[in-house]
């Protein structure tokens, strides 16, 4: 159920890497834990983050959760359509990208593949 072309983190984000570009979202496991998502706060284009930094906030009806950068780099695009319809994260978590980052060198180290992540959430 976890797409093999994505990489994953222990904080339940996914990353889709194309060249030096990385799309970031949260996993199906994360959206299930959160429940009905009603609010999403994302950074502005141009911000730079280290791996593990908080890049935004996601809220469900019952809880608030922080979003962590799976990699380091600069934000080059933000999914503002998703901010308007955050409930899409519940419906299709692995298609609901939040930000695009231009990765710094070696930023993709330590990410999990689909099988490893799937084991983690069992």
């Amino acid at each position: 159920m976890y797409p093999p072309d994505l990489k994953y983190t222990r904080d339940h984000e996914w990353v889709k890497i194309t060249g030096s570009e990385a799309r970031v979202g949260i996993t199906d496991y994360a959206q299930k834990q959160l429940g009905d998502i009603v609010y999403l706060e994302l950074p502005e284009v141009g911000r730079t983050f280290e791996k593990g930094d908080v890049f935004g906030t996601i809220e469900s009806v019952k809880a608030v959760s922080e979003l962590y950068c799976p990699i380091g780099g600069e934000v080059t695009d933000v999914n503002s359509a998703l901010v308007q319809k955050p409930e899409a994260v519940n419906k299709s978590p692995h298609e609901s990208w939040m930000i695009v980052m231009k990765m710094s060198d070696g930023a993709a180290a330590d990410l999990l593949d689909a099988a490893q992540y799937s084991d983690l959430t069992k």
Binding site: H12, A30, Q33, G35, D36, V38, Y39, T57, E59, S60, V61, K62, A63, V64, S65
Partner: protein
């Protein structure tokens, strides 16, 4: 992410049902409880438009009986229990001498000399000890913690009466709001009460724990054609907030008085003295300094318990409840504000994780059900 509940938590008689229905379980007041099954929004909407079935067996029951039971209840609770007929219930408070909340309760008059208080799960022991110590001097009245004798199921929503009626010989249309009767439900003897914590019409059913699964299954089966689904504590919280019902531990506690909580209507001003009466009378005369108000957040943000409230640079109060409500689709909440800022339409700000969001005082309840009674 929430922790997995541990094995030391108390379980209601319906715990296995919740697990087999795939509920997400959480710790609540020492209990392993379902927070959601199909999702909070789905369950919330089901209760507003059709029906939802809640397991609220974690709630406590404390019974007071004896020739002086009424005097005992009058002494420890704020509302005037002498106005209750047998078979009638009222919202009330166990008050401290300062007029603050030991707990908020429902008082049921079972007979002339027998009352039952339904109390919050996390307060059962505290309430029982409080009541026992406070009524010791009052003639013939004894308190018994009967919490383990009851499973409590709440069927809430516009379809509640039609779903429950075929399962009972009691004529549900004859039970008025905040009245109850004894009878059989799905062949199980129990008490059927027209009460709830959702702002909808509905019934709460007290049955022996050993029969809880049978009643639960029968209600869900009977409700299936009407779209009745199981609902968890998550939806219970968003529903009660839309209906502006206070939550103990959030909106009210031992630091807030009944008047500050804007619940003056549960004070029996004309009844004989009760614990906290003097403090409340004095506060009524002198006026309160702060008051629990309802608000809407005007910016795109959700206020939560503990967020600070500002008027200009002045820290003016604190949010006690807040959520994005599924039915009204608004970001709403309750907060204590100085009475000078408590009038509807007053604007203020809430510090939400370091950012100020604008909010406006609105009248409560946020939601009121369309009345088509009986």
């Amino acid at each position: 992410m929430p922790e997995t509940p541990s094995g030391t938590l108390k379980k209601t008689p319906l715990n296995a049902r919740h697990r087999s229905l795939g509920a997400r379980m959480v710790e609540f007041g020492g209990w392993d409880m379902p927070v959601e099954y199909s999702g909070i929004v789905d369950e919330h909407m089901a209760v507003r438009t059709r029906g939802g079935l809640f397991d609220v067996s974690h709630m406590g029951q404390i019974e007071v009986a004896g020739r002086d039971a009424l005097a005992a209840i009058q002494h420890v609770t704020s509302n005037d229990a002498s106005r209750l007929s047998n078979g009638q219930a009222q919202y009330s408070a166990l008050t401290t001498t300062e007029g603050t909340f030991v707990d908020d309760v429902l008082t049921y008059r079972l007979s002339n000399e027998h009352f039952m208080l339904v109390v919050n799960a996390s307060n059962i022991i505290k309430d029982f000890q409080w009541i026992t110590s406070r009524i010791a001097e009052i003639g013939d009245a004894v308190a018994v913690n009967t919490s383990s004798r009851y499973a409590l199921l709440a069927l809430q929503g516009p379809a509640a009466r039609d779903v429950l009626q075929p399962l009972t010989g009691a004529n549900l249309s004859e039970i008025k709001y905040y009245w109850f009767t004894t009878g059989e439900i799905a062949g199980v003897r129990g008490t059927i009460s027209r009460t709830g914590y959702t702002g909808e019409d509905g019934f709460e059913v007290f049955v022996p724990p050993a029969s809880a699964e049978r009643v639960w299954d029968a209600i869900l089966l009977a409700g299936r054609p009407e779209g009745v689904i199981p609902a968890g504590l998550g939806a219970r919280d968003t529903l009660r907030l839309e209906a502006a019902m206070r939550l103990y531990g959030n909106d009210i506690d031992e630091t807030s008085t009944v008047l500050e909580a804007d619940l003056g209507w549960i004070v029996g001003w004309n009844k004989p003295d009760f614990i906290g009466a003097e403090a409340l009378r004095r506060q009524k005369q002198e006026g309160i300094r702060r008051k629990l108000v309802g608000f809407e957040v005007l910016d795109r943000a959700i206020a939560r318990l503990g967020h600070a409230v500002y008027v200009g640079d002045e820290r003016a109060g604190v949010v006690t409840s807040g959520t994005q409500t599924p039915f009204l689709k608004k970001s709403i909440g309750m907060a204590y504000l100085p009475t000078t800022y408590a009038a509807p339409a007053t604007e203020f700000e809430i510090d939400i994780r370091g950012r100020r969001a604008r909010a406006r005082v609105v009248r409560m309840p946020f939601y009121k059900r369309p009345r088509a009674e009986s």
